[in-house]
Symmetry: C3
């Protein structure tokens, strides 16, 4: 377990804009407020979604596209620097009218409505290549 | 992205009462402690659940009822004023013994056991009708 | 609703070690930092997972084992004392490459990658047997 104590600098409550991209909205908040490290959670609904699944053996992302309205039952993630940009690592659980749940790494999704709570920490998270997983990880 | 900086006033840890309603328990905490704005997350189990799905085209909620014990794998939401009452907007991911996940807007569910962490912010969230989505949104 | 106001003592951001156990990693943080009460949420991926489902009638846990790589779309839980050990009560939503979601009480899972945010509260949570549910509950 790699960890460090963090201190909260500021907190934000946000409402995402209908028609915008879910992840980009979070990154907009991070960029405008110059958040260099943070954790967030959110809920709402999207008009479509692109989920990514990381193939742990081939070390590549596979994508799945859902062209349908979905609830965002839960969304958790964090903000860190990745390749000189603020990146919102975003996982989400989505659902269909039947209650059927879909989930994964949320690459993109058109916002219908979204509510987000973000904590900003002092210092910064910086993602760097990790040899074992071939992912970009912080700490 | 619409957002504002918030400041935490108080924090609460809560255990829901077996047999009570999941969302009403959260609203009871909000009412008793006069929480006018907050975010929470929770986990536990319910004896049944009613999920709502918002039809983004018809602008109406459809409901699905589950008359069976379900784990609450994740629950996130917030507290705001809606029509002169404190409303806990509550999304949840539920699961069956097989591990199958169900998710959505949790309108109601009979608590088996539940653990919740709530943050109260200064000021208040007030939900008002939004023309684009026909939902009641804050900010 | 049983609740109490809590005060945050410290906060931690953590990255789990590839190959370690998901829940044990959280308990390692709790043990090393002597966290007696806390709430956390996390995201990432596991190489396998064991979910438990509590049979509300028979008052026993059933287990389901998944021997496959899964995304951890959302994970929420808390740290409390249980039988003289720090226990991380951990629920999680997992997903397959198709986006199919699985969820429940995460007993174990081999970490592929994991990111966790933990808040430590003053005082302690102590789990004690609850007659109604036959579970060990705090507060």
């Amino acid at each position: 377990m790699h960890y460090r104590e963090v201190r909260t600098k500021r907190e934000f409550a946000a409402r995402m804009e209908t028609g915008a991209d879910w992840r980009e909205e979070i990154e907009t908040l991070a960029a405008e407020e110059e958040i260099d490290a943070g954790f967030f959670y959110a809920l709402g609904a999207v008009q479509d979604a692109e989920l990514w699944f990381y193939d742990q053996r081939d070390k590549e992302y596979e994508t799945v596209q859902f062209e349908e309205p979905l609830e965002v039952a839960a969304c958790v993630g964090n903000v860190a620097w990745l390749d000189a940009e603020r990146f919102a690592h975003t996982h989400a659980v989505l659902s269909r009218p039947s209650g059927q749940a879909l989930a994964g790494h949320l690459h993109a999704g058109t916002v219908f409505a979204g509510e987000c709570y973000m904590r900003e920490f002092e210092g910064e998270f910086v993602r760097e290549p990790d040899e074992t997983t071939d992912l970009d990880l912080w700490l």
